[in-house]
């Protein structure tokens, strides 16, 4: 009898070792520690469980120059459904996992990295919920941070320059502020069009949509998908690059269903009206966010365009996005400046 018990425990142990803890994803409250979900075989090395699949987006949200690694988990034999112009409709029990980090030195990856936080979007029965886990100093565990956390981080950039940042782990409400669509929490990244690119999986390089089909975590995707361009790809048309950047950095709030819909400034990819894109659009409730300028975008005059002024600012009462940024995204500011200049 005793022997049977011990086999049983060994069995439990093994199954736990190799599978994600589905009950915790569905549970009413979030566990204290990230490791409890068992998304990773080795948490500090960020080595994912077999069923936790890495992915990348074509264009990404700027988060103070931090690096991000993303994974998707779809439970059992379920599949996410393709939705036109929107994120996949993931089944209950799914998880989207995103770890933020700075390399110690961008020039020398072998020097390692500082893990900052791992953000989770968990698909519960009632819908998506968001929470973030901040990594401890020992870098061997991440702990739930309902109210967010400030991390004074530093790294050395490609130019050898020492960088410091007052990095903010968002609180649960701040997660919702960006992930809000029609008063419900929604993922932003994994739209079919955003993941339509190649990725070097451990079993070879594949288009991510093809790979997701092969792994049977999505039901379908269209062959004639029009994808945004990678905004960093300077061979592409600047208009496409800027629209791609604005879509992923601003469009989740600045859209008719987003948190900033009261502004009438819409920067998501599907917006086509000049005035709503900000061209000669007057500010509404901008206050000193206007910087003394009259319009969101003045074609040919980046230095008089509120949009650029707010992208450059580091003043919390002025800067856009409102949260998730403490530094200026210089490369994007340069691109948007060139774009407005050429309009």
């Amino acid at each position: 009898m005793k022997k049977i018990f011990s086999y049983f425990f060994i069995f439990l142990y093994c199954s736990n070792l190799y599978s994600v803890n589905d009950n915790l994803i569905l549970a009413e409250s979030f566990p204290e520690k990230l490791s409890e979900f068992e998304f990773f075989l080795d948490d500090s090395a960020q080595l994912p469980n077999e069923k936790v699949i890495p992915y990348e987006l074509i264009s990404t949200l700027f988060s103070d120059y931090s690096y991000k690694q993303r994974w998707v988990y779809v439970p059992g034999n379920k599949k996410a459904k393709y939705v036109e112009n929107w994120v996949f409709d993931f089944p209950t029990g799914s998880a989207l996992i995103k770890t933020f980090y700075y390399p110690v030195d961008e020039r020398a990856p072998e020097l390692g990295k500082q893990l900052l936080e791992t953000r989770l979007l968990l698909r519960k029965e009632s819908g998506w919920e968001a929470v973030s886990y901040a990594w401890n100093e020992e870098q061997n565990e991440a702990y739930k941070k309902i109210a967010g956390k400030t991390i004074n981080a530093e790294w050395t950039d490609f130019m050898g320059e020492e960088k410091t940042v007052r990095y903010r782990v968002p609180n649960v409400n701040q997660c919702k502020e960006c992930h809000d669509a029609d008063d419900k929490i929604s993922p932003i990244g994994p739209k079919a069009r955003n993941i339509n690119k190649k990725f070097d999986f451990k079993d070879g390089e594949f288009n991510q949509l093809v790979y997701w089909m092969n792994r049977e975590i999505i039901d379908d995707y269209p062959m004639d998908l029009i994808s945004p361009v990678d905004w960093t790809d300077e061979t592409k048309d600047i208009n496409d690059r800027v629209r791609s950047y604005l879509d992923v950095n601003c469009g989740h709030c600045h859209s008719p269903t987003g948190n900033a819909n009261s502004t009438g400034l819409y920067l998501h990819l599907n917006e086509t009206r000049d005035i709503n894109l900000g061209i000669f659009k007057k500010p509404v409730a901008t206050g000193r966010g206007s910087g003394g300028y009259k319009y969101s975008i003045v074609p040919g005059k980046p230095e008089e365009s509120i949009l650029l002024y707010r992208m450059e600012s580091m003043d919390p009462g002025v800067m856009m996005p409102e949260s998730g940024r403490a530094l200026t995204h210089k490369e994007a500011v340069e691109m948007v400046r060139d774009w407005i200049y050429g309009l």
Binding site: N173, K176, E177, K281, G292
Partner: protein, 408 residues
Amino acid sequence: MKKFNIFCISIISVLLLNINAKEVFIEPGPNEHERLQEAMILLQEGDILTIKSGYYSFEDGLSLDVSKVTVRGEGMDKTILDFKNQKSGAQGLLVTSNQVILENFSIMDAKGDALKVIGSKGISMLNLKTEWTGGPKSTNGAYGFYPVESEDVLIDGCVAIGASDAGIYVGQSKNIIVRNSVAQYNVAGIEIENSYYADVYDNLASHNTAGILVFDLPDLPQQGGHHIRVFDNQAIDNDTDNFAPEGNIVGEVPRGTGIIVMANSDVEIFNNVMSGNGTVNLSIVSYSDETDDKNYYPHPKKIQVHNNTYGPSGFDPDLETGDLAKALYEISAGDMPDIFWDGVVPLSQMILGQPKEERLVLNEEDTTSFLTISPIKYMLGFSSPIRTDIKEFEGKITPLESISIKTF
């Protein structure tokens, strides 16, 4: 019997509420931001969060997203939430949930807006204060109280000082009461913008650039502002230079304006005291900038003004800000009226006249001075395009219904 049943049910639900509800207390001290923010996140329906009296200094904004809760301090001069060291967050406090009561605390020196409420169904702000303590400056945040896209909004007994746009601003909302409140040293004291069904009464708006604004703007999800009653207020001594950052519509408002109605319909303004406003006591105007928005109606209509008291005005017109004061000064040859209507109507109405039910009605004492322009005469170069006889605008007052809001 039915009434009795309802009574019983409400007693029972109150009891149930009390059984589940808990009260949470926060005191000043180490990690006060994290403790308060965490408490706000962990609140559950029916809970009351009390922020004990004291001085709290925060580096990050706060937010509340739980419905049916009360967050209260121990008095607007006792529980002080100070944001002058704020490093992140576009406002002091952001509320995004329904049936929320906020009362008895102060928000000081927020970097952006002090208290912003987005998309709330049921928000009561009672005895709160928002202030920028360095006096009127263009670096102050835009709004003190800033409910937007909300319904059943109550602002009662509040104080708003120093906002670089509006002290109390209600935008794109429905069912609104602003009462018993004080707005001073803001650009606009109280502003109701692109909103439906509002009662603004028993307020004091003084030492702002302009006292009370009822505005409607184009290119927004909700426009066509209407059914606004402004009564029993004091819009007096609004004498602060306009300090709004340029680009904002209130930046055009001249110092010394009591009440302005722009591009709204069904507005009733009565029993107010307007006095000591150096440019003009009451101004009724169209939206004058170009717009391609076909759904937007830029002219005021069905405006009724009656039984107000007018004290001195026009003695110090602000000819530096915007075009309004300058134009009025020229047209009136320096004899500024108590009430000004720009007279702008759609072209067809300039020729055929306004429909009777849309006309401006002014039932005021004979001593009230008034001026309006006939734009057609003005454009055709008539020597006297102005009309100043207030008697021409007398008419029957059709009172607007008072606003009732759901309170919780």
